[in-house]
């Protein structure tokens, strides 16, 4: 059972499992680094928009980038809370 990113608890680490979006949107998310298998930390959780970051542990970048995803977008990214 995967939960939408919008529902993931604040401060949790999640693994992106599925992106339920058309090719355009999936591509846009991928360009920004959100794709299947990526580990994210939920900095601010919903309801409403969420902020996620690419944590040290999961990625190469020592400076974790931060992204805002609107609620609609965050509902389309399905994650597993790890």
């Amino acid at each position: 059972m995967y939960a939408p990113l919008a529902m993931a608890p604040e401060g949790s680490y999640v693994v992106v499992e599925e992106i339920r979006a058309g090719p355009g949107l999936a591509r846009r998310l991928a360009e920004l680094g959100i794709m299947k298998g990526v580990v994210l930390r939920v900095v601010k959780s919903g309801p409403g928009p969420v902020i996620v970051e690419r944590p040290l542990e999961g990625g190469s970048s020592p400076s974790p980038w931060r992204l805002v995803l609107g609620l609609g977008m965050a509902m389309k990214v399905l994650v597993r809370v790890s």
């Binding site: 991928a30 299947k36 409403g48 928009p49 902020i51 990625g59 190469s60 970048s61 400076s63 805002v68």
Partner: protein, 675 residues
């Protein structure tokens, strides 16, 4: 001329590099067929004249977004001699994704590793010589905001101009996909007419990804049709074998390569501690504190913009309305010419320039906050509210600028990715009460609601915002139906804003406002002047502007009388109606026009108004002024963004809305027993 293009993600300091290279010798145009801005400048390197083009900020090279398509088409069609890819050193992985995409196109690339100071403050540095080796292209480190490394960049560009670009194979798509790429590539290379269209390997990759833009162009040739259909077959076969969507597969491989290179080139200098950004974000994006903090910030922006600029506005008003006006009126020119210059030209120019200082300071504050990184956070905070009205946090900046002037507000809607969101934002922006409407409220509220002036004015602003948001919801549920593609935005690390960057941004926005609003308002002012000094009986002479009796027989007076019937239920007389006509040029003109028509000075207006309005009808009048036809410049801005049809729609809906709203005020008042 030698062409150099600048490419890069948003938030990498691209415009700062552009400004450094061109020293401000730049101009703004539009990319063909779209409203996206095209910035072009001139630079001189080693005595060679260069044309520098600032490509839109992009994350990749797909054909899905307008910006990416523009950048791609420019590279394919204009074939720039060198492309400088500006990479944010503090966000290497994501930025390298674009670098790899650019390298695949086989262009002559120079990588500018910018913002190395931010990376260092975060505890690490980038090994630029290793990066250069891995990418196979020159890498220069810069800090554009502090003007460091710009000479190195110039040198690298000069060196690169001596070379030609070549495609580099850095991303490995796996044996099966690579085999398909090679097959398509050799087929393309065997056809001279296709070979010259794109870099063959890039075209092969894009065809496998199912890129419609490349497919379309290929289909223009008989041999291309064959290539496209082979690509389709190969794609279906590979998707079957790999069990995934091929496009996602390619993106993931590319991202993997970017990740690998980023990892190899990053040297951790000190462990990452809780950064300043983390700390500030905890407060600024707080669920409870976020919104009041944002509101306070916006309030301070306005306080700053209006207080600081007030003396300047007064000065301009005195200069145009007093000094120049009197000078012309007192000159020995013929009466007609004097009136044309003083009442038409000077009054027209003055009415625009009076708004210049507050708007310029508003731009300054917004540009500085954007540079600091706060605006992205505010958009996050506000998104929660906007979402209920089917807009996103992206619509926030346009609506805020709208409080200053609706024209820049409409232009600021451009970066909204979702077309439906963008259109809805543009259409509702005129409902936000701009500073030009303020004088009308001040005069009417002052005359009828002494002691409650502030509350009445605040009420008008709140009403404007509420109407704008509700209308957005209505538009998104009717005209622009369909799901929003959603809102996704980077949160850049906080930075000290660079003075030159903020100054240039402010200047560009202000210039655009002046140009756009200036030309239209001036033409409108001239038209109003003409309609006031002429009538069915012919030329009335400029004294019509001073004599209410004479003005009544001008075209303007006749139009006002015609409108009186329309506004009968609201109880406004022909003078109030005619003033609304003047307001079409620019809403602040309404006050001056009323003064002319009541035959009093602006100071004596209160008394005159009290004899023809009641508190209730004045409230209805204010509501009408808030919502009725946006001024000419705003209509022109809407036309520029969405075309004539939507501009007409805006006029129509606003008139209807204003009428209904004003009538409701009257009805409500009567119901409550006030008059």
């Amino acid at each position: 001329m030698v062409k150099v293009a600048l490419a890069g993600n948003p938030n990498v300091g691209k415009s700062a590099i552009f400004n450094e290279l061109t020293h401000g010798r730049a101009w703004v145009g539009n990319w063909p067929g779209v409203t996206v801005e095209k910035k072009v400048g001139r630079a001189k390197i080693n005595g060679l004249d260069l044309e520098v083009v600032d490509l839109p900020g992009i994350y990749g090279l797909t054909a899905y977004t307008v910006d990416e398509l523009i950048a791609r088409n420019y590279i394919v069609e204009e074939k720039p001699d060198v492309v400088v890819d500006i990479v944010n050193a503090s966000n290497l992985e994501r930025n390298l994704y674009l670098t790899l995409s650019l390298l695949e196109m086989g262009i002559n690339l120079v990588v500018d590793l910018n913002m190395i100071d931010i990376a260092e403050s975060q505890g690490y540095r980038v090994d630029s010589s290793k990066l250069s080796r891995l990418l196979g292209v020159p890498v220069v480190a810069t800090v554009a905001t502090k003007r460091l490394g710009i000479d190195g960049l110039r040198k690298a560009i000069a060196e690169a101009l001596k070379r030609r670009g070549e495609a580099r194979r850095i991303v490995d798509y796996g044996p099966k996909v690579e085999e398909a790429v090679a097959r398509l590539q050799s087929l393309i290379e065997s056809r001279p007419e296709l070979r010259s269209l794109y870099n063959p390997r890039w075209a092969a990759i894009k065809l496998l990804e199912g890129d419609q833009n490349v497919e379309e162009r290929m289909r223009g040739y008989a041999s291309g049709v064959e290539v496209v259909s082979l690509a389709g077959e190969l794609r279906a076969m590979l998707e079957e074998e790999l069990g995934v969507d091929l496009e996602s597969w390619m993106v993931e491989r590319r991202y993997e390569a970017a990740s690998r290179i980023a990892q190899a080139c990053l040297v951790q200098v000190k462990p990452r501690a809780l950064t300043f950004t983390d700390l500030v974000d905890t407060v600024v994006t707080h669920k409870v504190l976020g919104i009041p903090l944002a509101l306070t910030t916006f309030y301070m922006i306005f306080q700053f913009a209006f207080s600081v600029s007030a003396p300047l506005s007064t000065l301009i008003d005195w200069l145009f309305g007093g000094l120049l006006y009197d000078a012309v009126k007192g000159s020995a020119l013929p009466e007609l010419v004097k009136s044309l210059i003083a009442d038409g030209l000077i009054t027209g120019i003055g009415s625009i320039l009076v708004f210049l200082p507050p708007i310029a300071f508003l731009f300054l504050a917004v540009s500085a906050l954007e540079d600091v990184g706060y605006m992205a956070r505010a958009a996050f905070v506000v998104d929660r509210v906007m979402y209920r009205f089917k807009l996103s946090g992206r619509s926030m900046i346009p609506l805020i600028l709208g409080l200053g002037c609706n024209v820049p507000a409409i232009m600021a809607a451009r970066p909204i990715e979702d077309e439906n969101d963008r259109k809805a934002t543009v259409l509702v922006a005129p409902c936000i009460s701009c500073s030009a409407r303020l004088p009308v409220y001040v005069v009417l509220a002052g005359a009828f609601f002494a002691g409650y002036v502030g509350s009445v004015i605040l009420g008008m602003y709140v009403l404007g915002v509420a109407v704008a948001l509700l209308l957005a919801l209505v538009f998104r549920k009717t005209l622009f139906r369909g799901p929003s593609t959603g809102f996704i935005m980077e949160l850049p690390p906080y930075m000290v804003p660079s003075t030159s960057n903020v100054a240039i941004k402010t200047w560009e926005r202000t210039k655009r406002f002046l140009y756009k609003a200036g030309t239209v308002i001036l033409l409108g002012a001239m038209a109003v002047w003409l309609l006031s000094v002429t009538g069915p009986s012919g030329y009335l002479g400029p004294s019509a502007l001073e004599d209410p009796m004479l003005l009544e027989s001008s075209w303007m007076g006749i139009l006002g009388h015609a409108l009186e019937a329309v506004f009968k239920p609201m109880g406004w007389d022909w003078r109030a109606a005619a003033a609304l006509l003047f307001g079409f040029v620019a809403k602040e003109v309404v006050v001056g026009a009323m003064a002319i028509m009541y035959g009093v000075s602006e100071e004596g207006l209160s008394a005159a108004l009290r004899s023809s309005f009641t508190p209730l009808t004045s409230l209805a009048y204010m509501t009408f002024v808030l919502l009725y036809v946006p001024c000419l410049a705003t209509v022109a801005a809407i036309k520029g963004e969405l075309g004539w049809r939507y501009a007409a729609l805006a006029i129509a809906y606003e008139l209807a809305l204003a009428y209904v709203a004003a009538l409701s005020v009257i009805g409500l008042g009567l119901l409550l027993g006030v008059s």
